[in-house]
Amino acid sequence: MADPDRAGLPPAELVVRLNAVTLSYGKTKALDDVTLDIPSGCMAGLVGPDGVGKSSLLSLVAGARAVQAGRLEVLGGDIADAGHRRRICPRIAYMPQGLGKNLYPTLSVFENVDFFGRLFGHDRKERERRIASLLKSTGLAPFAERPAGKLSGGMKQKLGLCCALIHDPDLLILDEPTTGVDPLSRRQFWELIDEIRTDRPGMSVIVATAYMEEAARFDWLVAMDAGRVLATGTPDELLEKTGVDTLDAAFIALLPEELRREHHDVVIPPRPEGASDDIAIEANNLTMRFGDFVAVDNVSFRIGRGEIFGFLGSNGCGKTTTMKMLTGLLAASEGTAKLFGREVDPRDMEVRHRVGYMSQAFSLYTELTVLQNLELHAKLFGMAADTIPDRIEELAERFDLTGVMEALPDALPLGVRQRLSLAVALIHSPDILILDEPTSGVDPVARDSFWQILVDLSRNEQVTIFISTHFMNEAMRCDRMSLMHAGKVLISDTPAGIMKSRSASTLEEAFIAYLEEAIAGAKQAAPAVVRAKAPLEPVAERQAGTRRSSKSRVFDIGRMFSYTRREALELVRDPIRATLATIGTVILMFVIGYGINMDVEDLTFAVLDHDQTTTSREYILEIAGSRYFIEKDPIIDYADLDRRMRNGELSLAIEIPPGFARDAARGNTVEIAAWIDGAMASRAETVKGYVQGLHAHWLTGKIRERYGAAATTGSFKIETRFRYNPDVKSIVAMVPAVIPLLLMLIPAMLSALSVVREKELGSIVNLYVSPVTRLEFLVGKQIPYIALAMLNFVLLTAFAIFVFRVPFTGSLLTWTVAGLIYVSAATAMGLVISTFMSSQIAAIFGTAILTLIPAIQYSGMIDPVSSLEGAGAFIGQIYPTTHFMTIARGTFSKALGFGDLAGAFVPMLIAVPVLLVIGTLSLKKQAR
């Protein structure tokens, strides 16, 4: 490939230099004192088992991860230097491991590429031209409008490549770009890379791969193991050095002695004759439809006991769906699946004891240790408690897990995790093993030892194995196999038979021939899947497009808006979220506006009347007649009083002493006793006030009765003016206060989740490796949520005025400007919270606690902030909700404008930049 003259020559220039670089995650060392020079202008490959540090090395080179120790030079400068990183990051493109990990699944193909184009500051015309050219050359042009999440694995990787190439990088870093991709797509992918390199000969490419047959095509290789470099050189040099004829074998030969000793070539003894009489798995016309989409179309096969049956096909062709139907995870739309002659029934627990299933993604519990995972599954399969330790020990030895029993799966290399998955699937000694791409991404040594186990199971224990894979050498090891494409089985035969039928020399060729035939057949109906070969535009023209000079600027509006645009698009694509956020707040406003009611009315009371005279009844009537109290049945005795207060039936109990009327008339002092239920203090205070008022009123009436009106003209009067809310209605007080509350909770939650979600799903890597700064990232993501919150603001204000009929007396402009500042503060608060959280659960929980409690309790919604004490008072004084609450009440009820409320604006205006600075400083621009 590429330039044959150059391949053998010693590299003239270096693109990457590592000097004693060490990287550890906790106790594990991913890279151990690595010193390495990678030549520029060529295609350099990193090969080696998983977990040896290939991905770590690439992420360090891309600047996505911070250098811990040692010196790493990339493109002629120290990558640890932030200034150099900023200068060179427009020249580097990085495609992380995992299918479409840095893509945005809800965005279309075009929008994804467009986003990256904007990040690197191309103008509109330039972007459109580049995108058109890239999509055309990768064959993605017909799918430009399809969401990235709905692409097949191969297409996702091509899209990833488009996104990486949009800014004409000088260094392209690809981390296992073809892992989990079918052979046809894989071939197309490498052809594409070759073409790009022909067009841009100066570009350096660094690739990590687990496929040795791919590595043979690279110019220069680095073989790695256990965080160290084993050997470097061209493929030929490596073969020469080890004296073997395949790279697979060369790699194994390069391994240290003790590792090599464990490796044996997989030997597959032939199946004993007549063993296949027993049918273990039988599928008859299995069909699965999801809506209009036929995922599996009329699939039939029979697999004998002890047979190893392979299932090959491109991603999304229906392999996994077929397997799920066989295990009973999915109920077939049509057709039947039988295991040992019994139809698969998801409710039948018996069948599950006979089947072991290993799903495509690692799906064991990462929070349980290896031992705990094994124990849990053993127990769930109902194994007798005394047999479990022996069985686990047996499996641990067989799968070489003894040393890692107490480790958490996340800390283990992929190969070990796959062995653990298999051990778990085998714990209950099933008769059938269903394995969905178990070796995807696993290195050759681990894969061979994995297969050795499978072969032993099949031949010695008569376990039937149904396995799907992408590796042709693995497919060759199967007794029989099926090729699957677009839900249909193309052919089922022995590997040799399949090769023969297409007169191909390798299985891969035969496979591709079958695929192309099938695609050609479907071509009339569907748009072309085979890419239309369109050469990339000439280099000169491509490079003529000017990059904006703003690249290294600290704050660039264009880059910020590229995040804004993307976030807004994602929001639009998730209408449930936007609807919940807008309609939800209105519902909440109703709930709280009507629910939190300070007009304490309809309180229950009852009387223990020992006197039973007209006077005592008059006194009771005085209370019962007010709108605040409702009289209940009279209290009979003290026990009754106690019981009825205890169960909360009475808020107030009054006892009128014997001889009340007589004593009062004679002028002897009498005491009326009143008990208030103090369990809820605020209500009790109100009751107290009411009772005292009514008592006083009764007294005045009595005095007037007795001494004439003159006695009560009173010495003076107190005239109470309830201002701003003359009817003292709760709604007038509460509804404007609810708006600040809701505009804190919802926007903060949304913005916090938007960042944490990127962290959890992996697209945060785009922040690490692109020129976008932390502030641009945060503000860019914040803007759509500010817009959404402002929509909320308008809705809530309209509801308050027109539905709740709360009079709005102040300046609408002041209110709106304050609203804008406030929602900016609220979303910024969410961003700050998000920088400390790594999981979405923690973000939800954290945001709920950090916004709900201060906003409800410390911000003057119910109790004025001036009445708070201690930490609550301090939080209340600085919390933005407090000040917006003042503005809300000021503009709604007090007819105020800017001038009067300036004092409340200042803290909010300070809060926004302060929060953004805190968020920016605590957000990391590199993974650590």
């Binding site: 627990m349 849990l376 239920d677 201002r723 404007p736």
Partner: protein, 370 residues
């Protein structure tokens, strides 16, 4: 259904929680510091109310009135001019402004019945009423005291002796502390089960479980018991050490009865968490849904404002929420020392609501797994 499955799956949930330090920190925070600050910050009904006085009389009686306001009920009053009064109230600096007119004392002694004006910021509902009552009482008391030295008054010898039961000093923090614990019980139990379920689905581990001989019922019950247990323990510890210990709230009633009720409440809320998780497709949607459910639960269950004062329809709707019954029960048991004979209707209601939520969540959960 096998109990051993439920047990082992539940233990797995507990390990999962144990290995998530941030969640653990949040749990500890919400049951200790958050409860503590929440209840100590909670003011007495009338605590440090801001009052300003416009004294246009400057007589002995007006001075006597002005000096009668002091903490903890009021902050020392600001003496202001009439011009300042409106501005200060507009800015929300004062909740009350008392205006004593010129010649007040002269008019008083001449029985010309002068009028003192009391301005109340009625947007501050929690203080407006009780503060008004207090101030009227204080002013009347001071003026009467002044007058008593000048002339005698006709009086009726009937006194009203008011006593607050169960919380003699009407300390709002007592109730607030317990309400904070209840809020946290609700938030935590919903988040722990609901979010954990969504995470399991996003990581594909739920699917893995289904190929094993376990039923959805077993999976669900295991989540309910394990997360319920964590929250139950946390709330018990919080009640004993924080509420009773540090905050010294004289919680009276039967602790065991309260824990029984908490267990029933958790049965309902954990089921609700699973229900919400099955309705929400993704974590952000769950977060929003959570807010939509939590706020009404907290605001309308009777923990913040008395149920009696809510509109009839909301009172009735809220009877369907477990929190309403739990709050009623918590007040009765913890403050009024009520026994089983008193609170059995609430326990029964919690059980029924829990069972309905559980059954509903179960149905959705089965569909969710398909």
């Amino acid at each position: 259904m096998r109990l051993s499955h439920i047990y082992h799956l539940g233990i797995k949930e507990l390990w999962g929680l144990w290995r998530d330090p941030i969640l653990l920190i949040l749990i500890v925070y919400s049951f200790t510091l958050s409860v503590y600050t929440g209840s100590t910050a909670m003011p007495e009904t009338l605590n440090r109310a801001a009052v300003a006085i416009v004294d246009e009389d400057r007589s002995p009686v007006s001075t006597r009135v002005s000096t009668a306001f002091y903490p903890p009920y009021f902050v020392p009053p600001q003496m202001i001019t009439p011009a300042e009064m409106d501005r200060r109230m507009d800015q929300g600096l004062d909740t009350f402004a008392l205006d004593i007119p010129p010649n007040f004392q002269t008019d008083l002694l001449a029985r010309r019945s002068p009028t003192i004006q009391l301005n109340v910021d009625a947007t501050r509902m929690s203080q407006a009423f009780s503060g008004n009552g207090y101030i009227q009482q204080i002013v009347t008391g001071e003026v009467s005291g002044f007058l008593d030295r000048h002339r005698s008054e006709q009086k009726l010898p009937v006194d009203l002796v008011l006593r607050a039961r169960f919380n003699a000093e009407l300390n709002k923090g007592w109730f607030g502390a317990v309400m904070n614990v209840i809020t946290n019980i609700t938030i935590l139990s919903i988040v722990l089960t609901g979010a954990a379920l969504i995470r399991e689905r996003e990581h594909g581990t739920v699917e893995h479980l289904l190929v094993m001989p376990v039923t959805p019922f077993e999976i669900m019950v295991s989540k309910v018991w394990s997360m319920g247990l964590v929250v139950l323990l946390a709330s018990a510890v919080s009640l004993v050490f924080i509420v009773k210990g540090v905050l010294a709230v004289p919680v009276q009633g039967s602790f065991a009865l309260f824990l029984l009720a908490t267990a029933l409440q958790l049965f309902a809320t954990t089921s609700m968490g699973i229900l919400l998780a099955t309705i929400a497709g993704s974590m952000p949607q769950f977060g929003l849904l959570l807010m939509l459910v939590l706020l009404p639960l907290q605001a309308l269950s009777g923990g913040m404002t008395p149920r009696e004062s809510m509109p009839e329809i909301i009172q009735n709707i809220m009877l369907a929420a477990p929190n309403t019954h739990f709050v009623i029960l918590a007040q009765a048991v913890l403050f009024r020392d009520a026994g089983l004979d008193v609170v059995w209707p609430q326990l029964l209601a919690l059980l029924v609501i829990g069972a309905i939520l559980f059954a509903f969540a179960m149905r959705r959960f089965r569909a969710f797994l398909k």
